[in-house]
Symmetry: C3
Subunit: 235 residues, 3 copies
């Protein structure tokens, strides 16, 4: 489950209940429950980074869905062997863009009772459960969205974690080595990890999901630089 | 599990451990962990709304228990086929009031070691686990609480969700259609769902668990109207 | 899982995924996800208190690891039949100090791909999963850390819970009965539990995991006394 639901509230548990009922033998993992609220672009890049190490046939139930109840379509993506179920609002675009083999489907199936505001529980979860059981009914093949304008990376903060570390939407590659990040008028150098810099010192590094991340050894980058999701970074 | 424990802290995990040990094959779901702290009335109405779609024989382990260690009794309710285990402080009253068939029991069983402050772990969880295994020992039939003064609905905010949406304790019915809500001096009109109103606009609607909810398209109702649990609403 | 990861973010779910893949039949419980951030001393005392009621052969995957990527060793502790996997930074010291029978190992095994900043996912979780499957490969016996300077108890706040209750690092014993706690210039008397004192009144008591805890009936001790982790208490 990859959502902007929060883990405290009732939405995650209600959705998990549907999964447990429809796919009792499958483990259910809360991968992320505080994706930036209703922020599809940042969430899409987070999802691409966080999903890449999961084994084939993992089913990602992805719900960041500000347009629920509106025109957007419910869709399924298979990307390099992993499944993604969610809304057609761009949330799955980054996964698709970075995958070698992709297939798309529109979900034609509708439940008997579909609430206006909680398709995660009523529509996406039952489909995700069925796909985990190798039941692909109710889907029709689709060409997929137009990805021509979708950015491969985005040069901004896409997530602030529990430690105040700031994840950017820029995937690390070796060409970045030695470069400097400019952020809110500050200059930030590269390091390999936290203990390579003095306490209180900021740095950027390749984080554990392959993104460029801005952090402070024994400190909170989000507070030091007054960061929030959407702030731009420049190499 | 329906609690006011918070999902970060040690209480939910300790209680889940007891369930896993005593009923290893049963799935455990965190339905709600941020019920309004020690607010039994609001929690009771939330529980009634959130539990209604679960299948028969689901066991709800419900702990919002400010009087733990005092005079209140530990009880079990069976309501329309679902089980509820918790304190006799009103928490189960709304479920019972809206059910067709109810039975009540007092929990006579006591564990060898009963802490003063955590009956959720020591008493309620073992009983919930046993009921899930169809072991009903240690219970004695009871007439149940006096529900004559318990409100079927309450015209106030009972929960603020992760998005800042405000759930009321008023169950939606068709007679409310077209009515206006007065709230903190403001007037709020009905809509079907978020994308039916302009961005930033407040509205009320029947939410995904059947309650009247106040929300703002792409905004936070709780901040726009300075809402918190307990604020009254008027149709 | 006992961590300072937070339950909302991506770290807990990524680590759980590794456990599910490597030990599919074992239940995974989030025992604590908001251990005081990078505060090893407080976390160590919390872990000792919270782990003591779990059955033999429980595996605790413990990650409060500010020195990740540095010199500290990955280790395994067996203490009174329970297993603990984590960093050699003191996090397991309190558990060991209060146990009757302890054995220590260094983890020699390294994964193919080891990130600099997330050994919880890449190193500790795979080892914890293997231990739960009775596979003890990749470990070499070790004498253990020098515990001579490690405090059996600490007279300060080690955790503030969801209710604003303040847990100290002092284990309750009968000799404390009747004593008074001095805290931020205030005097706090003992009570058995919440409903033994008037509403709004502070008290201290033996909490459900055996620690001295400061609480307020129907109130928040953390706000009344302006408490945070690290504040000292004196009997």
């Amino acid at each position: 489950m990859f959502t902007d639901f929060g883990s405290e509230g009732p939405y995650l548990g209600q959705m998990e209940a549907v999964l447990r009922i429809n796919a009792p033998s499958e483990p259910v993992i809360n991968l992320l429950s505080n994706a930036p609220v209703e922020n599809v672009l940042s969430s899409a890049h987070l999802l691409a980074a966080l999903s890449q190490n999961f084994p084939a046939d993992t089913v990602f139930l992805t719900v960041v869905d500000p347009g629920v109840g509106g025109e957007r379509q419910p869709i399924v993506l298979r990307a390099d062997g992993r499944w993604f179920v969610g809304p057609d609002n761009g949330l799955l675009n980054s996964v698709a863009l970075h995958a070698d083999v992709v297939h798309w489907w529109i979900i034609e199936w509708r439940p008997e009772k579909l609430s206006c505001s909680f398709h995660g529980r009523d529509l996406f979860a039952p489909v995700a459960a069925r796909i985990s059981q190798k039941d692909y009914s109710g889907l029709s093949l689709w060409d997929g969205p137009d990805l021509s304008g979708w950015p491969a990376d985005i040069a901004s903060i896409i997530y602030i974690d529990h430690y105040g570390n700031a994840l950017t939407g820029w995937r690390y590659n070796k060409e970045l080595d030695g470069q400097i990040i400019h952020l809110n008028g500050q200059v930030i150098h590269q390091a390999e990890t936290f203990c390579d810099v003095p306490e209180g010192e900021p740095f950027w590094y390749e984080n554990s999901c392959g993104l460029v991340e801005i952090a402070v050894n024994k400190g909170r980058a989000s507070e030091l630089f007054n960061l929030k999701v959407g702030v731009g970074v420049r190499f």
